[in-house]
């Protein structure tokens, strides 16, 4: 079974061919890239089918002797996870290649761009099929570099260069920690091959002393998992290394699409690839969860203060990546991949469509047409009881109905299906958020619309629930494997109850405020609240001043560096 090698080779060959013969090929440049990716896509689909039926494929390319003790082994590990990722990457890549044909037409760097795109696709594919930590890390590095080079595609543009630089440095921080994790993994387990590493980690419960004299001991697995996780934090734009993504909008739109649909998922993939390892350390999973939650809150709140469509999408990605990491922290590794795929597809289409939106708004400077008459209409609409009732009904009833129907119709035993519970919790929160948004936009103006909307939400909810469960068992088919991850990540039940309670409280409070607002009985309109809102806006528009703090640190380091350089 050597077909998986071809999946990687086609984008690479296309990249090399375009780079070397770019000038002679001219208009055929894009065609070569597209054809290579289409072939890779079909091969990836076939591989997915093959590994689903026949099981995992393990290919060793170097060293040729399989018994070799060499630490650096080049090969491929194509299991269901890798196959799913390959299908996602190649499909998104085809769309991006096709989109770029017109987008970059006439650009002097046309051939260079397609060569870089092919190279980055090859690197991402190599990451998802790496059979060991070291090979994964090598391609992880190449991805950092490839991303930087493609971000500074327009290298005479100072903003693009500055943001590419920032991105690379953030990734570099994560890479140092990742490398250190690899050092420790090799020292304690003597192998970096995934299957052997998981086995060795399970049998080894040593502690590591990070300070002299044994004053700070920590479980070896936890230490390694945490160090490697920092690599994932950097790549997936998680707090506190989240500052690079929103600033990369100066790059060509296809690059943004590739980044938001493919590259940024690397962190989530990394956690999934190492899921059996992370499952051995509950505290690490809890830290992963907390980092994810912080990122969601920051991403979603900063998104509210944006007025640029691409930046809004950038912060949305940040929040979505937070969700993905949080899911991993909850042990829902397969759901994170499910989320990753769904997000990758919809975010790529949003980015590719963003240009059209921006273009339309430039064509129609008076749009949206806003008048005093509209304000009156708006008031009338917002006071509608219908919208309020629909929203409250959906947000409160939906999870209950889904739970009951899912239990009876789909035969999902909730006490054993931690994933379903997590999934329902998120769908509840998301639905509530959607309902608030629709209420703000006065989208629910009649019973027909309300019914259609509720029906659609229920349908989507069921399909997602069913698909999520099926996907979990598809990705981790081993008996009790997926459940084992949930158990490893389980919080104290009281903590989870508290989270649900707080969420319920916030949702009810939201609807109460909306109701009183609709009745003209505004609450909390005192001056200090207005001031808080203003201050919050300033805080959010300045990204919680985190970028500023980093910039100050950098400036201080540079000042110190100049002093040192003078004496060197």
């Amino acid at each position: 079974m050597t077909i998986p090698i071809l999946i990687l080779l086609f984008p690479l060959l296309a990249s090399v061919l375009i780079r070397v013969f770019g000038h002679q090929l001219q208009s055929h440049v894009a065609r070569i890239g597209v054809i290579a990716n289409v072939i890779s896509f079909f091969l990836a689909v076939w591989t997915l089918y093959y590994v689903s039926v026949e099981g995992t494929v393990h290919i060793i390319l170097w060293p040729t002797n399989p018994e070799s003790s060499s630490i650096f082994k080049i090969g491929m590990l194509v299991d269901r996870l890798a196959a799913v990722m390959m299908v996602l990457i190649t499909s998104v890549s085809i769309v991006i290649h096709v989109y770029s044909v017109r987008y970059l037409e006439g650009d002097p760097g046309y051939a260079r761009f397609f060569a870089l795109l092919g190279f980055v696709v090859f690197v991402i594919l190599s990451i998802v099929t790496s059979p060991n930590l070291l090979m994964l890390f090598v391609f992880w590095q190449l991805l950092s570099w490839g991303l930087y080079i493609i971000l500074v595609f327009n290298f005479s543009h100072p903003d693009a260069c500055r943001n590419g630089f920032k991105t690379f440095i953030c990734h570099r921080i994560g890479d140092v920690f990742f490398l250190f994790g690899i050092f420790l993994a090799y020292k304690y387990f003597g192998t970096l091959e995934f299957t052997e590493l998981f086995k060795a980690a399970k049998e080894n419960s040593q502690t590591i002393s990070l300070l002299p004299g044994g004053s700070f001991n920590i479980s070896v697995v936890a230490a390694i998992a945490l160090f490697i996780f920092v690599g994932g934090i950097a790549k997936s734009n998680q707090f506190p290394l989240h500052v690079w993504l929103p600033d990369t909008m100066d790059s060509p739109t296809p690059v943004s699409a590739l980044m938001h649909a493919g590259i940024i998922n690397a962190g989530g993939f990394l956690l999934n690839r190492l899921a059996p390892f992370y499952a051995l350390s509950s505290p690490t999973l809890h830290i992963v969860f907390i980092i994810g939650v912080i990122t969601i809150l920051m991403g979603a709140s900063m998104m509210l203060a944006q007025n640029d469509i691409k930046k809004t999408l950038g912060y949305s990605t940040m929040a979505q990546m937070g969700y993905m990491i949080m899911e991993c922290g909850l042990g829902a590794f397969a759901l994170a991949i499910f989320h990753l795929i769904a997000h990758g597809l919809f975010k790529a289409s949003l980015f590719l469509g963003a240009g059209t939106g921006i273009h339309s708004s430039r064509e129609e400077p008076k749009f949206p047409n806003h008048s005093h008459h509209d304000d009156e209409e708006e008031k009338k609409k917002s006071s509608s009881q219908l919208t309020w009732v629909t929203g409250l009904g959906v947000t409160l009833m939906m999870p209950l109905v889904i739970l009951m129907v899912a239990h009876d119709m789909l035969d999902i035993h909730l006490q054993d299906a931690h994933g379903a519970v997590i999934f329902l919790f998120f769908s509840w929160i998301t639905t509530s958020q959607v309902m608030f948004s629709l209420y703000r936009l006065q989208a629910v103006a009649s019973w027909k619309v309300a019914c259609a909307m509720i029906g659609a939400l229920f349908f989507i909810g069921f399909v997602y629930l069913w698909a999520g469960e099926e996907f979990t068992h598809f990705l981790y088919p081993g008996p009790g494997e997926a459940e084992g991850y949930f158990v490893a990540a389980a919080f104290n039940p009281q903590v989870f109850d508290m989270i649900i309670l707080i969420a319920t409280g916030l949702i009810l409070f939201g609807w109460f405020v909306v109701y009183t607002d609709a009745k003209g009985q505004k609450i909390f309109i005192s001056d200090w609240l207005v001031s808080v809102r203003k201050q919050s806006y300033i805080l959010l528009i300045n990204r919680f001043y985190i970028d500023l703090v980093y910039a100050k640190w950098s400036a201080n380091i540079l000042r110190l560096a100049q002093k040192v350089a003078h004496r060197f």
């Binding site: 060499s70 630490i71 650096f72 070291l134 090598v138 590095q141 570099w145 930087y148 080079i149 500074v152 290298f155 005479s156 100072p158 260069c161 630089f165 690379f168 440095i169 570099r172 921080i173 890479d175 140092v176 490398l179 250190f180 690899i182 050092f183 420790l184 090799y186 020292k187 304690y188 387990f189 003597g190 590591i208 002393s209 990070l210 300070l211 002299p212 380091i557 540079l558 110190l560 560096a561 100049q562 002093k563 040192v564 350089a565 003078h566 060197f568």
Partner: protein, 409 residues
């Protein structure tokens, strides 16, 4: 004395003699360049075919020859070019002698190299306190170099360590190296980078097995300081040669720092050290081309060269890319040799900080330099001329050498 002992010395004397003759005689530059290139190629062939050398020593000797070849190749017929060619031939002969000769002869060549370095620095018009310090350092190195050949084992180790720290620059023994690179004329600075590292690696290779655990611990602490100090210096450096010198010290500190974590120094350290020399020598060479054209010495004064000088831009991108991945080579090759569980955790913490300084700091200062030279908007008031084919080939050959050293050797 048998021919295996005398032949390497004779081979080393050829470029030395040629260099001295070129210094005093009036020879046309075209002839001089052809003779120089042919001599280096012939020396390479002779070293392979007639002399039996330790694999590490012959690798280091070839690195010096390759670097000398590149510097010679990119010269054009100017007054400075003749001076550079003769100086590089003298340095090549002395370095080759120090590497391939044995016993006291090797020490004489080393003393000659130190003397040549001291002489170059002493020619400076403005003598500063730093220059005086460097000259004192040279004198101590000369004394220790001679005494190491004549003294006992303990003296050999300490003298060897001092010389290794001088040539494979480790803070606070880095001043002669920095002085040499700063004061070197034109493309010669690139050659000095490789020569100094090659000699330093050879010295360290000789004494490595005699270093005790306590000595290794102190060395690793010094290396940590060296890594942070040199990285900061590289970050704040504006003068191109000084930038290369600081970046080299920062990268080389990894060799010193990893000594007590990864055993079998010759297997990972020499390859890495030479890869550092080639890549940073390549960057130095590329800088010197720009300096020759526009009198440029301050990084950042002439940005955006990638567009009007595509060859220079390509060379810089490849060199910086390679330099960014440099710390990766000792990490992989060192891990291969590392005894897994025996290594102490505390040493790992030091290694972590070393990598933090060199890897992260390296990423910062190298990209900053790339942005200040190749990227950005080009100035409109300058008439640009791209690199000539020979210049581009010279940089490419160094890069290929680094690739071989880092990935294959």
């Amino acid at each position: 004395m048998d021919s295996q002992h005398t032949l390497p010395t004779i081979l080393a004397l050829i470029p030395l003699a040629l260099g001295i003759v070129w210094k005093v005689a009036q020879i046309s530059f075209a002839n001089l360049k052809s003779i120089g290139l042919t001599t280096i190629v012939v020396l390479g062939i002779l070293l392979v075919t007639t002399v039996e050398l330790n694999s590490s020593v012959s690798f280091l000797a070839f690195a010096v020859l390759l670097s000398g070849f590149c510097v010679m190749l990119c010269q054009e017929g100017t007054e400075q070019a003749t001076e550079v060619c003769s100086s590089s031939m003298i340095a090549l002969g002395l370095a080759l002698g120090a590497l391939v000769s044995q016993g006291i002869l090797s020490r004489f060549f080393l003393v000659g190299l130190l003397g040549f370095g001291a002489f170059s620095i002493n020619r400076k018009k403005h003598r500063t306190f730093k220059t005086t310090l460097i000259l004192i350092h040279f004198v101590i190195a000369v004394v220790l170099s001679l005494s190491s050949a004549l003294g006992g084992d303990a003296l050999k180790v300490y003298a060897g360590l001092f010389l290794a720290a001088t040539f494979l620059p480790l803070v606070p023994f880095h001043l002669p190296f920095v002085g040499m690179i700063e004061g070197a004329k034109g493309t010669l600075s690139s050659f000095w980078v490789v020569v100094w590292l090659a000699i330093g690696l050879a010295e360290l290779n000789m004494i490595y097995s005699s270093l005790t655990a306590e000595m290794l611990f102190i060395i690793s602490l010094l290396a940590l300081v060296s890594a942070f100090y040199a990285t900061l210096a590289a970050l704040g450096q504006k003068q191109s040669n000084l930038f290369v010198a600081s970046a080299t010290v920062a990268n080389v500190s990894l060799v010193w720092g990893l000594l007590n974590v990864f055993p079998s120094f010759p297997e990972w350290g020499i390859a890495f050290g030479i890869a550092v020399g080639f890549v940073l020598g390549g960057i130095c060479l590329a800088f010197s081309f720009v300096q020759q054209r526009y009198g440029w010495q301050v990084i950042g004064k002439l940005p955006g060269l990638g567009e009007p000088m595509p060859r220079f831009g390509t060379a810089m991108v490849f060199l910086v890319t390679f330099a960014l991945f440099l710390p990766f080579f000792p990490a992989i090759s060192g891990l291969t040799n590392m005894p897994s569980i025996e290594t102490q955790d505390v040493n790992f913490i030091k290694v972590f900080f070393m990598f933090l300084a060199v890897w992260l700091g390296g990423g910062w200062f190298l990209l900053q330099t790339l942005h200040q030279t190749a990227f950005g908007r080009a100035r409109m008031d300058v008439f640009y001329t791209d690199l000539r084919t020979t210049e581009f080939v010279a940089v490419a050959v160094l890069l290929l050498g680094a690739t071989y050293s880092g990935l294959c050797y």
